[in-house]
């Protein structure tokens, strides 16, 4: 049914919907996050659900403690290497369709702690991330903003065709490698099937002006 007919019908008082719309509407309107906080950002995440910001307005205050019942994983805080396997495992335990918001600088890239030996430089090395929120920590408004961004993203998803979401594509994995503790670092250090950074463009020549002062 095309949009024109639909608006025409709705003017007549007839509301139509497609399966896709209903499916997407259900998913967007009822995103239950995993009760999962890592560090400082978790406090802002809690603050977002509290009275002042009230994430419940979007129907998302149902923080499920068990990954089996959660839809959204808000990676809120620094992911250390010691924690990374558990984060991936939790993600694997969540049922499809599942989404990940990478909240805060640390979860995106290691943030201020990226120089640390035990800090994972971004959770997207191991699991696919839908929305990134920069900030250290992001304000609760920024989290709500990202949440709405995620809703928009879900709403725009097609159930069929090339661009269908990951969970509807049988070829795409829904579980990812859980890294193992190695003697010096995690093994593997990243999941190269989902994380391919752009080629590091470090000035090979003339770098001294930027490299030494």
């Amino acid at each position: 049914m095309d949009e024109k007919l639909k608006t025409e019908l709705s003017k007549q008082g007839i509301f139509t919907t497609s399966l896709q719309e209903l499916y997407n509407w259900g998913r967007t309107s009822s995103i239950w996050p995993l009760n999962f906080g890592l560090a400082c950002c978790a406090i802002e995440m809690i603050a977002t659900t509290m009275a002042r910001y009230d994430l419940a307005r979007f129907g998302a205050e149902v923080f499920r403690p068990s990954p089996r019942q959660a839809d959204l994983m808000i990676v809120a805080g620094t992911v250390t290497k010691k924690m990374a396997p558990q984060v991936v495992r939790l993600y694997n335990q969540m049922p499809e369709p599942k989404y990940v918001i990478s909240m805060g600088a640390c979860a995106i890239s290691g943030g201020p702690f990226k120089q640390g030996y035990n800090v994972l430089k971004g959770i997207d090395r191991y699991i696919p991330v839908d929305i990134y929120i920069p900030g250290c920590p992001p304000r609760p408004e920024a989290l709500i903003d990202a949440f709405m961004e995620l809703q928009k993203k879900i709403d725009a998803q097609q159930l069929t065709g090339e661009n269908r979401p990951r969970h509807l594509n049988a070829d795409e994995p829904s579980e990812f490698i859980v890294p193992q503790f190695g003697e010096h670092d995690l093994e593997p250090t990243r999941n190269s099937s989902i994380w391919e950074p752009p080629l590091v463009q470090i000035a090979q020549t003339g770098s001294d002006e930027s490299g030494s002062h």
Binding site: G26, F58, G59, E61, R68, D71, E96
Partner: protein
């Protein structure tokens, strides 16, 4: 006037009449079966809708208690929130842990929902609106209610998860312990009514002296029985502050830790339906079922009163949930065996005395004393035994 009376009567009996009218088109041989199907469908639809509304009410009510709005974006005033949750749950992936007992894992939520719905068979929702007027209705209700324990334990055991198992063990211990005071608290009504039929019990309460109804809750033993019944019912339906089996901060999600998607939604549904059923039984036994609270309000349809009372009780549940912290397992058990059980037994005695004393002021005084004094004594005895108190603190110089 008679015209008005007829109209209100018709309004009161509208569902019964509609059902009769529909059935009259069917061959007589099919009528009992179809009547049953019709009633089952009506109950499932009505209470599933109530479930949806209650989850919303709970979320919004808790929100208001916590100085916020609660869901208000999905549909007008967030009215479609439960619908969205339902759609989402239906379309979620269903995960069965690889080492779980698949059959039992699947059976558990189904059994829970089925058992919790079966209790409604004997609940009179309105005048002449009861599916089966069983002469052992109350007994049937409690028998079916104990099926829920089985379902819960099946869920916990079949998941092969430690948290699930802990939750199931807690649930079994709690539900069996509270079954005893629950039944004993309702026995007082049976003593007085002399019948196990729910319909008879309600009919007995649906009479009035002046404007006042003859609800059992308006007697000392009835009030005590009601209070005890409600405490036991809270525990029986795993509501806060007795929500230990799913104590989120302790054992994740208890026995349904490993459930996802629609099976999890079924658990949710089963819990709420079970809660409605026990509340409905409390209404039937103590609050006069579908009868109006004042004689001059009888023109309002009977089913309205039933649901109004049900919603009031649900609101109290929500209110309590928003306020109280959870008990610990041993405290829960202590409450059941050291407070609830003696109180319910004493209440039986009180009811007997009430029955054999002449109506009058003296009867009230004697029975009230018999209920209140032991309650206070037992309560403060427990308090004393545990030595908990409000403390005073000193300050360093």
């Amino acid at each position: 006037m008679t015209h008005l009376a007829l109209m209100t009567q018709h309004l009161d009996q509208i569902f019964v009449l509609t059902s009769h009218w529909l059935l009259s088109y069917l061959p007589i041989a099919l009528q009992p079966l179809c009547s049953a199907i019709l009633s089952v469908a009506a109950i499932i639809i009505a209470f599933a809708t109530l479930f949806a509304l209650t989850t919303l009410l709970e979320r919004k009510g808790l929100g208001r208690m916590q100085n916020r709005y609660g869901p208000n974006r999905v549909g007008p005033c967030g009215l479609f929130q439960p619908l969205a949750d339902g759609v989402k749950s239906l379309t979620k992936e269903d995960i069965v842990p690889i080492r779980a007992d698949r059959a039992v894992h699947f059976m558990a939520p189904v059994l829970l929902v089925a058992a919790s719905f079966m209790g409604y068979a004997v609940l009179p929702i309105g005048r002449n609106m009861v599916m089966v007027d069983m002469n052992a209705g109350v007994l049937f209700f409690f028998a079916i209610g104990s099926l829920m324990e089985l379902a819960v334990f099946m869920a916990g055991w079949s998941s092969r998860s430690k948290y699930s198992l802990l939750g199931a063990m807690r649930a079994i211990a709690q539900m069996i312990s509270y079954e005893v005071p629950l039944v004993l608290a309702s026995v007082v009504v049976l003593m007085q009514a002399g019948s196990l039929s729910t319909v008879a019990i309600v009919n007995m309460q649906a009479t009035y002296s002046g404007i006042w109804p003859h609800w059992f809750v308006f007697t000392p033993w009835g009030f005590a029985g009601f209070a005890l019944f409600m405490i036991a019912a809270t525990a029986e339906s795993n509501r806060s502050p007795f929500d230990l089996p799913e104590g989120e901060s302790e054992i994740i999600a208890g026995y349904y830790t490993e459930y996802s998607g629609f099976k999890f939604a079924l658990f949710f549904l089963g819990e709420y339906i079970g809660m409605f059923a026990t509340s409905g039984m409390a209404i039937t036994l103590f609050l006069g079922g579908w009868s109006a609270p004042f004689s001059f309000l009888t023109w309002i349809p009977s089913y309205f009163w039933f649901f109004a009372k049900l919603l009031t009780i649900i609101s109290v549940f929500i209110w309590i949930r928003g306020t109280l912290p959870r008990l610990r397992m041993d405290q829960l058990m202590n409450l059941a065996w050291q407070f609830m059980l003696p109180m319910t037994l004493l209440n039986l005695l009180t009811t007997g005395i009430w029955h054999f004393m002449l109506p009058g002021f003296l009867r009230w005084i004697v029975c009230s004393t018999m209920v209140i004094v032991p309650c206070i004594l037992l309560g403060s005895g427990l308090k004393y035994k545990k030595k908990f108190q409000i403390r005073t603190y000193h300050f360093s110089q």
